[in-house]
Amino acid sequence: MIEIKEVSKHYSGQRKVINRLNLTIPDGKIVGFLGPNGAGKSTTIKMMTGVLPIDEGVITLDGNDIEKKPLEAKRIIGYVPDRPDLFLRLKGLEYLNFIADIYDVPKEVRQERIERITKQFSIYNSLDDYIQSYSHGMRQKIIVTGVLLHDPSIWILDEPLTGLDPKSAYILKEMMREHANKGKTVFFSSHGLEVVEQLCDEVAIINNGELLFYGTLEDMKETYKSDQSLEQVFLELTSNE
């Protein structure tokens, strides 16, 4: 479970980019995080993953405060950043071993998971190549593989489907569903509204650092008394701000 309580953030000399944000994401759900460019999605995710310090408020991941118990909290999550350009001079397998070492994944377990996931993603044969030589989609896949090596109970993904071919995007969506079905949390930001509509159990919409809506798609239709698509509601909500 992810709990965001009264969280605010401002960069030096600027107005608040996140303003008293409250959000509770339960286990076993896939939650889509929506908002226009500059709404505060990435800042929120960066605070959730410990990349940015929190100015006010608390974020807990399965009860672990990301500020007070950063290592415990980070061990629980698996984070796929928006840009998959990490450690490009390592070979695919070296990267996965490095990540597995950090999360203390035993040899047999990591070997089985590396083989299974990379074969699913069709990057198994490129494991001995440098990540620098990978395409954008392949880089995304190797990062997702790394994240799944320790079977995290919370999965946070920033624009995960960008650059993936249709087959790999389908596999990733399946993985997210499987993960949620096992009672774990999947939280991801996206610009693709169809994906959110198709995949998510719940949706959070943010603009100008404030939460505009959180709930199921049915809740949304009921709240806004409309038969409109998610796209139309999203445009309406964010243009009113």
């Binding site: 960066k46 993953t49 410990g50 990349v51 940015l52 310090p53 950063p70 290592l71 980070k74 061990r75 999550i77 984070y79 950043p81 840009r83 350009d85 990490l86 450690f87 001079r89 390592l90 397998l93 070296e94 071993n97 490095f98 990540i99 597995a100 070492d101 950090i102 999360y103 035993p106 040899k107 990591r110 070997q111 590396i114 083989e115 198994y124 044969n125 490129s126 494991l127 001995d128 190549d129 440098y130 620098q132 030589s133 990978y134 395409s135 392949m138």
Partner: protein, 547 residues
């Protein structure tokens, strides 16, 4: 030409635009320059004394032009060496070229624009070696204003020939080395070969230097006016014409030499542009796609290894350094270059029996102090620690979202810099044990002290990089260029320990090697403790998240 000019401006802007923008860095630079000012006075006065003495001997023989000849030859040799390094970095290691290739630009326009950065560097180097001697020579020989004007014109021409020679040679090498599949490896091989070439060239010159023959030749040439000049510049016309321009500027001979010089340089530039048009792009482009080779389950099993986090982190750091041409050149090769160069020269001298007495004075207390300060200087120039965080670039945030203790990250980075310093220390060990044959007591006290100094230096470098890292780079070159952090690090360590060494040197209460060693050990351990607590303090302030 308009496009070329625009390209030059953009490339220079990308490289130098950040200089002096941070106030704290500018202040540190000013302090550094103030430290260097007395050294500049010493440098100029040494040059003036030597030159005056030399001039007074040569002038009655009509051979004073030899001074200018040697000056130009030396400047060209230095500039040639510097050109190899800067061209390799700017033309081949800098990856910004990838973003210019899709534009409708001619290869010659790209190499002309790429040359701007290295040329500025070369003019700086030339100013340091050539200008003081030129002005002192002018003063000593009571030269006319024409001499100074001609001198400045020669200065403007000075880097062109060394630059074009190095450029054409490297473009030729890279064009054919780059056929290999792995672009990075080709760059590394070419880079190391260039350093090896410089060293081999030196060995070759030294092997072919027969003192007796030289003296006989000199005796013949000294009999005629400017004979010595013609003799030493016979194989290198740019130096001959340059010297004649300067020493005979008031007569036709000088003016003709000047035009010959201009023609030579123009020819070199045309040749450079032609070679660039023909070879550059083919040398830059590499094959950079995944192999899709067959990966077997057996290989997966063999290559899947479990390591403790700190070891895994250090392995990752070393792999990235050794596989990134810029990092390898800046962090490893350039720090090994000077010791290897020194070892070869000393080894050759020792085999010819010239080394006797070189380090006779290096014993006891003073010997230890010299070795300690020397070690600090050598390990202090290594760029691994001062780039520890900056090297990560945009990957730095991975250190934050992965469950890594920031203290462990920094310690692993310090350890990486320390391991790379081990190569330099190992070379020093070879030098001390096999060539200089240092006395054992001194050697055994020095070695652990050097290892501790290396840890201190690495921790200091890492701390400085933590304060002002450069993460937003698009090209690995930017981690090292236009940053004063390396110089600041050396000045801090040499400033602190230089004063301590000076005190220990002069204090008569501190006697003998053991007492001096004990004090140095205690001080360096205190230094390490201070660096670690400063770093701990910064981590508590969340500096690692704020950068």
């Amino acid at each position: 030409m308009n496009k070329t000019w625009k390209l030059i401006r953009i490339m220079l802007k990308m490289q130098y635009s950040r200089v002096g923008k941070k106030n704290s860095e500018t202040a540190l630079l000013v302090i550094a320059l103030l430290f260097l000012l007395p050294m500049a006075f010493v440098y100029i006065s040494v040059v003036r004394n030597a030159l005056t003495a030399f001039y007074n001997v040569l002038e009655p023989l009509g051979q004073e032009s030899l001074i200018i000849g040697i000056l130009l030859l030396t400047s060209h040799i230095i500039l040639l060496f510097v050109s190899f390094i800067t061209i390799l970095s700017a033309f081949y290691f800098a990856e910004d070229i990838d973003s210019f290739i899709p534009f409708p630009l001619q290869p010659y326009q790209l190499i002309l624009a790429k040359s701007a950065g290295p040329m500025i560097y070369l003019y700086g180097t030339a100013a340091l070696f050539y200008l003081p001697v030129l002005f002192i020579y002018g003063g000593v020989s009571s030269a006319s204003i024409l001499f100074y004007i001609a001198g400045m014109m020669i200065f403007l021409l000075l880097p062109i020939i060394p630059f074009t020679i190095a450029g054409i040679l490297l473009m030729f090498i890279m064009r054919f080395v780059n056929i290999a599949k792995n672009k990075d490896r080709s760059k590394v091989i070419a880079g190391i070969s260039s350093f090896a070439l410089i060293i081999l060239l030196n060995v070759f010159i030294r092997l072919n230097t027969d003192v007796d023959v030289i003296m006989q030749d000199a005796a013949i040439f000294i009999r005629e006016q400017d004979g010595l000049l013609r003799w030493i510049t016979a194989f290198y016309p740019p130096a001959y014409f340059g010297t004649m321009t300067l020493t005979a500027i008031t007569i036709w001979n000088g003016i003709l030499s000047f035009f010959a010089s201009i023609a030579l340089h123009a020819g070199a530039i045309i040749l450079f542009i032609w070679a660039g048009q023909l070879l550059y792009i083919k040398g830059v482009l590499g094959m950079g796609t995944a192999n899709k080779s067959n990966f077997s389950d057996a290989r997966l099993s063999k290559k899947t290894k479990v390591s403790p986090v700190w070891l895994s982190y250090i392995k990752k750091e070393l792999r990235i350094i050794f596989r990134t041409p810029t990092f390898l050149t800046q962090c490893v090769v350039s720090s090994l270059f000077a010791p290897i160069f020194l070892i070869i020269i000393l080894f050759m001298d020792s085999s010819s029996g010239n080394i006797g007495g070189l380090l006779d004075g290096v014993t006891g207390k003073h010997g230890l102090l010299i070795l300690f300060l020397g070690s600090l200087l050598i390990v202090g120039t290594n760029a691994t620690s001062i780039s520890g965080i900056s090297r990560e670039g945009k990957s730095w945030h991975a250190n934050l979202f992965l469950p890594l203790n920031p203290k462990q990250v920094l310690l692993s980075k310090i350890a990486t810099a320390w391991i790379i310093n081990l190569f330099t220390i190992l070379l020093a060990v070879i030098l001390f044990v096999f060539i200089i044959k240092l006395e054992w007591t001194l050697f055994l006290i020095w070695l652990p002290l050097a290892l501790l100094a290396s840890w201190f230096s690495s921790a200091l470098g890492m701390y400085l990089d933590l304060l002002q890292p450069k993460l937003n780079w698009t090209d690995e070159q930017e981690v090292f260029k236009s940053r004063m952090i390396g110089l600041i690090g050396i000045i801090i360590q040499l400033g602190i320990f230089g004063i301590i060494v000076l005190l220990l040197w002069n204090l008569n209460i501190i006697n003998g090697i053991y007492m001096t060693a004990a004090i140095l050990y205690v001080l360096i351990i205190i230094g390490i403790g201070v660096m670690h607590s400063l770093m701990h303090h910064k981590i508590k302030q969340k500096q690692h998240q704020l950068i």
